[in-house]
Amino acid sequence: MSPAQIEILAIAVCTAVACALVGTFLVLRRLAMVSDAISHSILPGIVVAFFVTRDLSSPWLVVGAAATGVLTVALVEALTRSRRLKEDAAMGLVFPALFSLGVVLITRYAGNVHLDVDAVLLGELAYAPFNRLEIAGTDVGPRGLWLMGGIMLINALAVGLFFKELKLATFDAGLAAALGFAPVAIHYGLMSLVSLTAVGAFDAVGLILVVALMIGPPAAAYLLTDRLTVMLVLSASLGAVAAALGFWLATAVDGSIAGAMAVAVGVVFAVVFLAAPGRGLIAVMRRRRRQRWEFAAVMLAIHLWQHEGEPDEAEESRVEHLHGKHVGWTPEFTRRTVALATRRGLVEPAGERLRLTELGRAAAGRALSGAVVEV
């Protein structure tokens, strides 16, 4: 890889980690759509701040534009509180209006500078290495890397320091308030970080990738773990993996880097969604299948148990009887169920008939008492 490529990848990885850290809490708070709203509505803030600073990667522009993001959240909440419309509608009203205002401002006043509508959506990651940061005449690397590296550190520091507070306010805002942890302040703190991250990332990677990186990796990590700390680490790692994968894809097809990365986020999520152990689609389907057959085996044990010692036991325990008119199973279903029940030691064949084992009797008893029986 050329130095420029390494720099591009480093910026993307920093962005992915920064987005994953705050995105994890957005996903857990069911505020995923807020990332969409914030990342779009910061545009007028960026344009106005750009007129003032004339530099897209100036820290002042970042802070100024981030304020627009927080303003969006406040506006959406004020509209929701008015009870005249629901939160999703409020969001759908606020962010297109602000975003479009930004677009109008760009096309009217900034059309001939490096700030155009295409770049807003998918960024200009390929050009990021050309924008260098010089300190006292020395080139210290691309500005974008410093900016995103800095934002990543800020997010990591904030999440690290306030981990306990963020966790409590996210899980149980009522208790957080009762204990004096100011969940509203924590909420706006988190929203400030999301805005800051979105503004910082927008120039390098564009809006779409910001949203993808804030939601995709945390949503995937959620399916892989039961621990918040692990979820944070996994989100960051999956985001970084998606960035690398996207970079490779973009090089292979010679396409938009940020676009390819956003696609890669989707692919990573799809793979996890399908293949995650325990909660993935495949694991769930397998478990359902197994449960279906185990249930049938227990059903068989209960059937035999009910008729044990009754005058009709001889008739009821015949294998043919199971796919006769009483039980009504198909011959194939009966064959597989009897095979499984025999394998698990619930029943044993006795000539034409089936006999319940001690294990089978216990399983039937437990199942009848309402327990979920695994055999």
Binding site: L28, L161, F162, F163, K164, E165, K167, L168, T170, F171, D172, G174, L175, A177, A178, L179, G180, F181, Y222, T225, D226, R227, L228, V230, M231
Partner: protein, 272 residues
């Protein structure tokens, strides 16, 4: 700190909570003596949860004053434990039982300080008390309703509060858990702590509680159960005819969960 001269655990005067100028609580006065088990009762929409939330400063109040052990709530926060309704949190949150219980220590820890060994030990002790220590490392989504409630209770216990506010701790729990919870509440009372419970089941009031507040936007009545829990007060609070069915022991079916949700434990019927 605790003012030894006051015998009131909670003192509420002229508390009004309005939602868009529609009163949810109208001028409620309430004083809860220390070391009592108090039930807050009333029909749906009577403002029971709102009363607790207003006392804890979780909803804005239009008027009124709240004192906890003689001081404003914000000054005596550390004396108060809170058990919100079980359904108010997301039980799919990626965390363990032990971790949730440790959250009860966060108030004492304050900002930035991390829970450590001490907090973990306290959480284990509390889980032991509610019979849930074997579940300490479980993911919380694996718990049943009764187990969730026990975890919430353990979290309140580690708060080591003097006054507890519990919002419907018996909601949707099995009979065994209900007994376990009431035993714990009585134990807290024996240690001279005060427990304020939003309660639904008219049938168990005399058995469980020694103080009762009947609420229906206004305070209808408040005092010792034997004086306050009268048919007349109940009629005032529930706004209709409260009819106590004589419990015919063997023939009477046990209350179903649905009955419980409607608040009468299956034994009383309300006709508007």
């Amino acid at each position: 700190m605790t003012d030894p001269t006051t015998t009131c655990a909670v003192e509420v005067t002229d508390l009004t909570v309005a939602y868009r100028e529609r009163p949810v609580l109208w001028d409620v006065d309430l004083s809860v003596p220390r070391g009592k088990l108090l039930a807050i009762m009333g029909p749906n929409g009577a403002g029971k949860t709102t009363l607790i939330k207003a006392i804890l400063g979780l909803v804005p109040t239009a008027a009124g004053r709240v004192l906890v052990h003689g001081e404003p709530y914000t000054a005596n926060r550390h004396l108060v434990g809170y058990v919100p309704q079980r359904g108010s949190v997301d039980w799919d949150f990626p965390t363990t039982v032990l971790d949730v219980v440790m959250m009860g220590r966060y108030g004492t820890l304050g900002w930035l300080r991390r829970p450590g060994r001490r907090e973990r030990d306290q959480a284990h002790v509390a889980l032991e008390k509610v019979g849930m220590d074997v579940f300490a490392d479980r993911q919380i989504s694996e718990l049943s309703g009764g187990q969730q409630q026990r975890v919430f209770l353990a979290r309140a216990l580690v708060q080591e509060a003097q006054v507890y506010f519990m919002d419907e701790p018996f909601q949707g729990v099995d009979a065994r858990t209900e007994r376990a919870i009431i035993e714990l509440l009585k134990e807290l009372r024996a240690q001279d702590r005060t427990v304020v419970v939003v309660h639904h089941d008219l049938q168990t009031v005399t058995e469980y509680f020694d103080w009762v507040t009947l609420l229906n936007v206004r305070r209808i009545a408040s005092g010792p159960v034997e004086e306050t829990f009268t048919e007349e007060n109940l009629r005032l609070a529930y706004g209709g005819r409260v009819e106590f069915l004589q419990r015919q022991a063997p023939a009477d079916p046990p209350p179903t969960p649905e009955d419980r949700d409607h608040g009468l434990g299956g034994y009383g019927k309300i006709r508007p």
